[in-house]
Amino acid sequence: MTVNDISRRRFIGQTAAGLGVVSLLGCSAHFSHWRFFTEEEAKLVEAITGQIIPADDDPGAIEAGVVFYIDKQLVGPLAAYQADYRRGLPLLQHTCRKMFGKTFLELKWEEQTTVLKALESGNVDQQEWGEQSPQRFFSLLRDHTMQGFYGSPRHGGNRNYISYKMLDLDMPYIIGQNRYRQS
């Protein structure tokens, strides 16, 4: 092996290392907890889920982390609904402003309920919503909230089996192996 060979190998090795460094530095972008939502969207969706399944004696959708379920699934199996959220959320805010002159998060609890009821019944500024169906958007939010609340934690929601505890389901089940020698 010649001197030249060695240094070329080293050269390639170091270059690869250098590229590794670059690739590590390359991801020093902004931080986000979210996969799909922006920080504001996430706050909004979280509040909506809290309206749909509020906490009473038992925890609700916020405590169960339902917004994490929706966020996670929107870049997975529910990707088809991305556009519905991107279009629907601003329209919902628009409806809030129209009805109360405030954004959803600034509204009182009862006012938030009123807005969601308006969506559910389609009783909104049709001109602004145009092609979009407020009823459809509401039922989407409701379905996804239910899924996140009652589904398995592995999909992102139902944190610590919160809803199963409410239903008095002992999860994870306590079941021993099939024992051939019983003591």
């Binding site: 240094s7 050269f11 170091q14 690739s23 991801c27 902004h30 002992d170 021993g176 019983q182």
Partner: protein
């Protein structure tokens, strides 16, 4: 055109190599010393892990003490990082950051480095049992063929199915591992019961200025014990696991409310009908009903010899030293199982009614 001569080539390559080496060395030093906020976290996907760590009892410990530096895991980890970045920029959504069994096992020697006593105890107790002990046990396999559910309690971090561990998947055998390396790996590693990225408080010194107040002001500090639930690919804190409801016939058994025992009960569990003593259930009944496993079993090593003296005076109800009485403590072959023995098991003639005062 004049070819550059070989010396120039060597010099050039040498200079480049040197420059890269210096840059790289500087980077490596920085990487090893800088705050995790600047290094590990530069992949923003780790924000959540960082937050969890910053609130954990390991908050004073650098990411690298457990995960290794960018390079100490070798090119492999670098490649992984590379892939993650590629996946990220190709818009291919955010990859899940979950550790594979291989990485979980690679961390074990690091736990050992700081928790030598616990590691040694674990090694000496039954929980350091290996894949070979569990999956090549002929008696067990002949009676019940290996299946996916075994991994709920043995090998919870393995991501594949049973056919990827042992072959053939039947009750005839002879069985062998698909990957011979599995044989010596532990099936119940530290992380089966401990979760690192979760909230916890490091221990703190009391206020010595008021010595008489130390006891009353000491904050309750529970050691964090969790259980890795394979089906959910996540840990559950002991307090979030269900409490065992157990029956002896129709009688509800009084089960200790020590939450740590809920972890034990996930594996040392009764059958689906929760009849006491079925399957691997060891929940105490009889004279020890209501006691927690950890009242007698030291964690990790499970030795019990020191525990009797915590509760038993030199002479017991029976006027005897409990350690030499006929139970499975003294002799594993005894018919009086220490977990289940009742007064009546030894006093069939009803002599217990003549119990002396004092």
């Amino acid at each position: 055109m004049k070819k550059p001569n070989q010396t120039t080539m060597i010099l050039l390559a040498g200079a480049l190599t040197l420059a890269l080496l210096i840059a790289f060395g500087a980077f490596f030093t920085w990487w090893s010393l800088a705050s995790p906020r600047k290094t590990c976290l530069s992949c923003h996907e780790m924000q959540t892990n960082y937050d969890n760590w910053a609130d954990s009892y390991h908050r004073d410990i650098n990411c690298k003490s457990c995960h290794g530096g960018a390079l100490s895991n070798g090119w492999h980890s670098m490649l992984e990082n590379g892939r993650r970045v590629v996946g990220h920029f190709s818009g291919n959504s955010r990859p899940e950051l979950a550790m594979q069994e291989e990485q979980i096992l690679r961390i074990l020697p690091r736990c050992k480095g700081c928790h030598e006593a616990e590691y040694a105890d674990w090694q000496a107790g039954g929980h350091s049992v290996t894949y070979a002990d569990i999956y090549l046990d002929a008696t067990h396999n002949h009676t019940e063929q290996p299946h996916n559910d075994c991994m709920r309690c043995h090998g919870m971090f393995f991501s594949g199915n049973i056919a990827e561990i042992v072959t053939p998947v039947n009750n005839q055998g002879p069985w062998r591992f698909v990957d011979a390396e599995k044989a010596e790996q532990p099936v119940i590693p530290c992380l089966a019961c401990h979760h690192i990225h979760r909230p916890g408080q490091p221990a703190q010194a009391p206020d010595y200025a008021e010595p008489q107040m130390i006891a009353s002001t000491r904050p309750a500090r529970l050691v964090n014990v969790e259980f890795y639930v394979r089906s959910e690919k996540t840990h559950f804190a002991a307090a979030d696991l269900p409490a065992l409801k157990l029956w002896e016939g129709a009688r509800p058994v009084q089960v200790s409310d020590d939450v740590r025992q809920r972890v034990c009960s996930q594996c040392h569990a009764p059958d689906a009908w929760h009849q006491a003593g079925t399957s691997d259930d060891r929940t105490p009944r009889g004279v020890h009903e209501g006691l927690s496993c950890l009242a007698c079993h030291a964690p990790h090593k499970h030795e019990t010899a020191q525990s009797c003296g915590n509760c038993h005076p030199a002479l017991s109800n029976c006027g005897l030293d409990v350690k030499v009485m006929d139970t499975t403590f003294r002799d594993p072959a005894s018919k009086n199982n220490i977990h289940f023995a009742k007064c009546a098991d030894c006093h069939k003639d009803g002599r217990t009614s003549t119990r002396k005062a004092g």
